[in-house]
């Protein structure tokens, strides 16, 4: 077990290193001299040179790269070229938006997806099952930005123009600790957007997983003992069927935590996703690197947790 975790952590660190390096290389292909960009149009040659020296941009590229890695190990992600704040501080602010987004959306898609999947699996080939299939297919076929626009149009535009002012427009975000009610109101539509689309995967996964388990011998035994169907499904079958869903949930949650570009763009939420897009626009390398690193780290960590959880839930899995 320990050996397994250590090996996975090392693999994860290598993955992170590769990703950070790629972003570094890509960035200097785009813009070999960020100092000129930072100094602005009116800057003199000496001003540009001093900025360059200040940022260490006058050193050879490999020295900059090694310096960057060295600082990274100390937990220093540098300072934003444009926002003039430490990247770690900025990331700390932005990630709160994504935590809010992930928690709310995660609960909705898990409950919704599991419910639809269980209903479909308990009554295969009925109208319930077919409706669930339609739900899954539409969910898998709908791009996030279409659902987001549709929800905004219906719940914000149409309702508001008819005097029902419940849902805020895009571009509103209230931190949880400022006003929890306002926080939930602002995030309800983004949550629904993320959740409805993701729930389709969960419905499909839980239906097929549960159907398979319900066909096993121990379920027949449980039924033969005279247990109620409810007890058979929820106590016996669901427990075995839940493993692939746990896996998927861990990865999906980590993915949203690392920034949901489309949802954040549509609803104007100042999270990691929206900020990485604007950072690319203004060629703010430290911020880009910081966000990519955090996003990838979430996924690497989630992968390790999920693997361990898998072995805990399902005794047939052995970690090696």
């Amino acid at each position: 077990m320990t050996r397994f975790i250590v090996r996975r952590v090392i693999q994860g660190i290598i993955t992170l290193w590769v990703i950070v390096t790629l972003i570094f290389v890509l960035f200097f292909m785009t813009n070999p001299d960020p100092a000129r960009l930072l100094a602005g149009k009116a800057a003199t040659v000496t001003q540009v040179a001093s900025i360059r020296a200040f940022l260490g941009l006058n050193k050879p590229l490999w020295q900059q790269y090694l310096g960057f890695l060295g600082r990274l190990i100390q937990g220093n992600l540098g300072e934003s070229y444009k926002l003039h704040e430490p990247v770690t501080t900025l990331l700390g602010q932005w990630v709160q938006v994504d935590i809010s987004l992930a928690v709310g959306a995660g609960i909705i898609w898990l409950v919704l997806g599991l419910s639809v999947g269980i209903i479909a699996a308990r009554r295969p080939r009925t109208i319930w099952d077919r409706s669930a299939t339609v739900f899954v297919l539409v969910g898998l076929s709908t791009p996030t930005f279409i659902l987001g626009l549709l929800l905004l149009f219906i719940f914000f535009y149409i309702l508001t123009t008819h005097g029902i002012d419940i849902f805020p427009s895009a571009g509103n975000y209230t931190p949880f600790f400022t006003n929890p009610a306002e926080w939930a109101r602002d995030l309800l539509l983004p949550w629904l957007t993320l959740a409805l689309i993701t729930a389709a995967t969960y419905a499909r996964l839980s239906r097929s997983s549960l159907l398979e388990v319900l066909g096993e011998d121990y379920i027949r035994t449980a039924r033969a003992k005279g247990l109620s169907e409810r007890r058979v499904v929820y106590r016996h079958a669901l427990r075995a069927a839940i493993t692939p869903i746990v896996t998927q949930f861990g990865i999906d949650l980590a993915t949203v935590l690392g920034g949901a570009i489309i949802t954040e763009t549509i609803f104007g939420l100042p999270g990691l996703g929206q900020n990485v897009v604007s950072a690319i626009g203004r060629e703010d390398l430290p911020v880009i690197q910081g966000i990519v690193l955090v996003a990838a780290a979430f996924i690497v960590v989630a992968n390790i947790i999920v693997d361990v959880l898998y072995a805990v839930i399902d005794p047939r899995v052995r970690l090696s």
């Binding site: 590769v18 972003i23 995967t201 993915t255 489309i262 990519v292 996924i299 899995v317």
Partner: protein
């Protein structure tokens, strides 16, 4: 009833002795290949016909785009504030001013733009999928068949591609090279092949242990002959299904890039950039700006998803679970997020 005297016959003789028009059906028993069986199943599948109809409608729309443009006299790209907006300078709604689906902020015909958008979406969807499928199949076969360090290298590469934040990479690449059709196709193909490669690799790993591969090797077949002549035909089913299901993923990927402004880019009309179009003074109420491209996009993705499901059922009704657990995230992500949904859980790859 007396028993007939025992006559030694070969099984072939025995079958030949059954008159072709005996028993039931009155037809000769005929060997049918799995492909023909699948086609027969597909032909009776009403959902498959519906899906094919949806896709064909979009293909037709794409094909006749220049005809629509010529017949209406409306350009897909040139702004026309004189004819395309009303006397208040506002865009026409659907059905007004001789515009079936209305006009956008620059007075351009939404119908013509949706039709031209279909060309981009279908072209990107099909080409990127083709590239990804061919690449993924070849690399998956090589990885699974040869094993050893080649497999270690390719498998790591697939993992890296699947866990790379691809939307981000696409944005950065578009910033470097400037968004274009070719780049969009290349980016989508590059981030999609690994999903196919991984399935093909897994299938190859199990196929290469089978007797027929042993037999081929014993008569002196080389590795490439075994891979592409012997093993590949056995992988047609999963590759075909995954390929069909990859088309809508590629189409949504393209629309997403264009929505973010890093895809093909204006003035070329694409469904993605139409959805992101500034609604200007018309405000959010100008639903036809984005409503019609959204509907076109939905019909297309739904069509391919339905078709993919039907093809899967027709080829092998039992494969459902394999593809149900297939991570949609591996190519698209629940929300095409920064982290690239493309993560392998590792649970599948390492511990199972």
């Amino acid at each position: 009833m007396s028993l007939a005297p025992f006559e030694p016959t070969t099984s072939v003789d025995f079958i030949d002795e059954i008159p072709p028009d005996s028993a039931e059906g009155g037809r000769a028993i005929e060997g049918r290949s799995p492909l023909r069986l699948a086609l027969a199943r597909l032909r009776t599948d009403r959902v498959a016909w519906l899906a094919a109809g949806m896709i064909l409608a979009m293909v037709l729309l794409a094909l006749i785009a220049p005809v629509i443009s010529a017949a209406t006299g409306h350009s897909a790209t040139n702004p026309d504030l004189v004819n395309g907006t009303n006397s208040f300078g506002q865009p026409y709604g659907p059905g007004q001013g001789g515009f079936l689906l209305g006009t956008d902020n620059l007075g351009r015909d939404v119908l013509v733009r949706v039709a031209y958008g279909a060309r981009i979406s279908l072209l990107v969807g099909v080409l990127a999928t083709l590239l990804a499928t061919v690449g993924g199949t070849i690399l998956g076969l090589i990885s699974g068949y040869f094993g050893g360090w080649i497999d270690a290298l390719l498998a790591r590469l697939m993992d890296a591609v699947l866990s790379f934040p691809y939307v981000l990479a696409a944005i950065v690449l578009a910033a470097v090279f400037g968004g274009s059709l070719g780049l969009t196709i290349a980016v989508i193909a590059f981030f999609s092949w690994a999903a196919i490669g991984r399935i093909v690799r897994g299938q190859t790993l199990s196929q290469k242990e089978k007797e027929y591969v042993e037999a081929a090797r014993s008569i002196g077949a080389g590795p490439f002959r075994i891979m592409f002549v012997d093993i590949l035909p056995n992988l047609v089913a999963p590759v075909l299904v995954l390929g069909t299901l990859l088309v809508p993923v590629a189409i949504v990927f393209e629309a997403t890039l264009d929505y973010l402004g890093v895809g093909v880019g204006p003035p070329t009309p694409t469904w993605g950039n139409m959805l992101a179009d500034d609604q200007g003074s018309a405000g959010f109420g100008a639903w036809w700006f984005w409503g019609f491209p959204a509907i076109a996009l939905l019909i297309t993705t739904l069509g391919f998803n339905l078709l993919g499901d039907s093809v899967r059922d027709a080829l092998d009704p039992r494969t459902e679970r394999i593809f149900a657990t297939r991570r949609k995230a591996s190519v698209l992500g629940p929300d095409t997020p920064v982290g690239g949904g493309g993560t392998q859980s590792g649970a599948e790859a390492d511990t199972r």
